[in-house]
Amino acid sequence: MNTDLVIGMAGSGGDGIVSAGESLLTAAALEGYHGVMAKSFGPQIRGGESSFRLRICTQKVLNTGGTLDIAVALNWDDFLKFGGELPVSGNTTVIYDANTNVAPDKIPLVGVTPAEVLMVPIEQIARETGGSDRAKNTVVLGLMAGWLGIGKEKMLAGIRKRLAKKGAETVDKAEKAFHAGLAYALEHPLKRTRTMAEPEKPTAKFVVDGNDLCAAAAIVAGCDFFSGYPITPSSEIMHFLGREIWKYGGTMLQAEDEIAGIGAVVGASFAGKKAMTATSGPGMSLKTEMLGLATIAELPLVCVNVMRGGPSTGIPTKGEQSDLLQAAFSAHGDVIRPVLAAISAEDMFPITIEAFNMAEHYQTPVIVLSDQEVGQRKETAEPIDVSTVKLVERQRPSEKELERYARFRLTESGISPISHPGMKGGNYLASGIEHNEAGAPTANGEIHAKMNEKRLRKFNPLKRRRDLFIVEGSPDAPLALISWGSVAGMAIEAHRILVSEGLKVKLLVPRLLFPVSEEVYQDFFLSIKRGLVVEQNHLSQLYRLLRMYVDVPRGIETLAKSGSNPFTPMEIVDRMRQISLALQRETQHVPSEV
């Protein structure tokens, strides 16, 4: 019996790879399992390579795991294009289509002998039962239902529902293909059983991705206006709001370019509404001037960056965490712009709500960092109780304040009550040009210094928001494991393994990346001798950002990789074990010298 399985499948775009993965995840979720499914594609619009990695677990998981337990190749060319994204080990059961005409001992995997290799006539079964090779994915679902022992009825129900519109004959053929796959699996039991154990405490769940959940959170947060420009992998946020926002009295504008997208959002915020835009790297580069404008005009807005491989066009279809420094320092001038990052699709809900609250409270643009994995992966998520969501509104001027209103009044907190068009007595000039308390343009150095100080001072309380950090492990542990964003899901799991092995490791996952909360890190680093910062970019951007603001212990190392080169929890565990040994050697060495 298995409690945790990772399944990877690859084929051509038309093979229905992703829909097969989603069917399997949904069926598993309906039976009470937890799961995470990442999708990965080649750059082609149709017919390119396509894959999923699905992890099914009897308890909650935050990542898609390490090497595959089951690998399914509909053809080898496409499978091999994913390289390290679909890693095969000596424990993997490899299943591939007999139509590839490759003998089981000749499969093109280099440097590894899988636990078991099965050549299955997937296409042949599909043609004989489903009537065409388009039923290949349904045959695979039948195989999985048989070998994993899960989801049979749910997947059949899913097939019926999905194909109902296409008529009884289509449904019948698909059911036959599924049953044929199932029968094949039952006739050919695997040497290494892949049967799933019963799930722990089945609970009702959503199956969601980060982009959709971000959009839904925006509506719950009170967002009345969205404007953006199509860009992979963030467009689904715009699609969702284009369908839904009108019902709540809001408006979605597909702008003519990235600049106009955030420009309209700046305008909507000036008009008094909560507003959001979403984009990815190249769009973020274009939006930076408007971020500066919203900062100096002190206008709330949320800007989501679903990160992809950069620079420039980079790898649009695959994730990377390489826009952190851009998020922290984009646009010119002396500026703080809060940056939040979600660690999972599920986390996009609270992070997006937090972003709106922070934007409204501090009258500032807030950047939410997601990435292709968080944005587009499907995962099981706990039901959301909206009644517990707390919303923050921007501070409006009182009637008394409107009698002699000064929009940018130098208050103790640095936050000045904000009016909006339509509010009598609140009339003021907003501007990108430096201004005095009343809003009048100025080139006076003293006023500029005071206004800069106000705009920066107002963020001081933000640096004490310890609730935006995940800290786990014994407070006096000498080893540190730090990570952020989607990769943090790997680090959290690695940390649990390390602690269970008896290593004294503390985990730190910032969900607020900027401004750097110096106190939080300093407290965390007090006991730390050695450790590791894990992130998906080449430059070790979080590590370098921390070194800029905090006394990072010299024993902190980095594990940083460019995008689409996946981490595995065990890779982090192995590196931490080495760091632990290094610490022991170093510490044992000291007394002999004394």
């Binding site: 949904t26 979720a29 309906l30 009702a204 769940k205 959503f206 199956v207 969601v208 959709d212 839904a216 509506i219 719950v220 009170g222 009345d224 206006f225 404007s227 839904e244 009108w246 019902k247 709540y248 009295g249 809001g250 504008l253 702008a255 003519e256 600049i259 106009a260 997208g261 420009g263 309209a264 959002v265 700046v266 305008g267 909507a268 915020s269 000036f270 008009a271 008094g272 509404k273 507003a275 408007m290 500066g292 404008l293 039901p383 959301i384 909206v386 909006h420 068009p421 339509g422 509010m423 009598k424 007595g425 009339n427 003021y428 000039l429 907003a430 501007s431 990108g432 009048a440 343009p441």
Partner: protein, 297 residues
């Protein structure tokens, strides 16, 4: 300005729209006349200043919102239109004005003009066209005449000017007019007409730069060469005739309304409001958005 008819008109004078800020413009700048014409037009319309949002980009002329008592927003270079559209869509009840120079509207921000026209957002965009970059001290602008020698074109311009009138007519603008501070009454009148037009209105103002402009562009010269379209018996409902006249931009100075669509099309803001009304009963509270996700049981 579709909501005007149902509103009680209070008594406002031009002074009610003038702020206390002292303009940074050079003495004799055409923009003084433009802001005066805007005060007059707004007084005739009679919306209280706090219900007006006045958005500009960057440039000498883009300082203009600060000289009014409306809610102003002096934004970044070339982006007045996207920001103004966001404001109008967020609150369609506001009277929204946009303004800027020819560089703001037809060079750095030129890409936005087509799209505000396409959407027909109910707002008025006033371009103060002086054929030069004044704020940055005299470089070529998109409407500078061929051969013009400036600090950035020491040997003469090798480019043809943009024709703002044909540009917007070509994209299908439904209200297109041109004025000059040399004719204050005429300018105030077309600004008022533009604001009253139910949809996007474009007004090109020949607003001379006294510091870097040419002699034959100054108010005195304009007065001598201007011809009102009214006096020429031009039918503003005739789009082809409007385009024909607009071709004379740079050669002749025609003032008045080139084109006013006799049967104005729908506005994006109006359609958005209709869609919101039509869909609002589908949900009870914002929490309903989570019903989109399949809650599996």
């Amino acid at each position: 300005m579709s909501t005007l008819a149902v509103r009680p008109i209070e008594e406002y004078t031009a002074k009610d729209y003038k702020s206390e800020l002292k303009p940074i413009w050079c003495p004799g700048c055409g923009d003084f006349g433009v802001v005066q014409a805007i005060y007059r037009a707004l007084a005739n319309i009679g919306r209280p200043p706090h219900e007006i949002a006045f958005i500009s980009g960057i440039g000498c002329s883009s300082r203009i919102p600060g000289y009014t008592t409306a809610y102003g927003f002096n934004t970044v270079h070339g982006r007045a239109l996207p920001i103004a559209q966001g404001i109008k869509l967020a609150n369609p009840d506001l009277l929204v004005l946009g303004a800027g120079g020819d560089g703001d509207g037809f060079s750095i921000g030129g890409g936005h003009v087509a799209h505000v026209i396409r959407r027909n957002i109910d707002m008025t965009y006033i371009v103060m066209d002086n054929q030069i970059y004044g704020l940055t001290k005299g470089q070529l602008s998109p409407t500078s005449r061929p051969g013009l020698q400036t600090v950035s074109s020491a040997h003469g311009s090798m480019e043809s000017p943009v024709n703002p009138l044909l540009y917007v007519l070509g994209y299908g603008a439904q209200f297109v007019a041109q004025g000059t501070p040399a004719d204050m009454n005429g300018l105030a009148k077309i600004i008022e007409e533009g604001i009253r037009f139910p949809g996007f209105a474009f007004i090109n103002v020949q607003s001379p730069c006294v510091t870097y402009g040419q002699e034959d562009q100054q108010l005195k010269a304009q007065k001598a060469m201007m011809q009102t379209l009214e006096s020429m018996k031009h039918d503003p409902g005739n789009r082809l005739a409007a385009m024909d006249l607009a071709q004379q931009y740079g050669e002749k100075l025609y003032t008045g309304v080139f084109y006013r669509n006799p049967t104005p099309g729908p506005t994006f803001d109006g359609l958005a409001r209709k869609r919101q009304q039509a869909m609002k009963d589908q949900v009870k509270s914002r929490a309903d958005v989570l019903n989109v996700f399949k809650l599996v049981k």
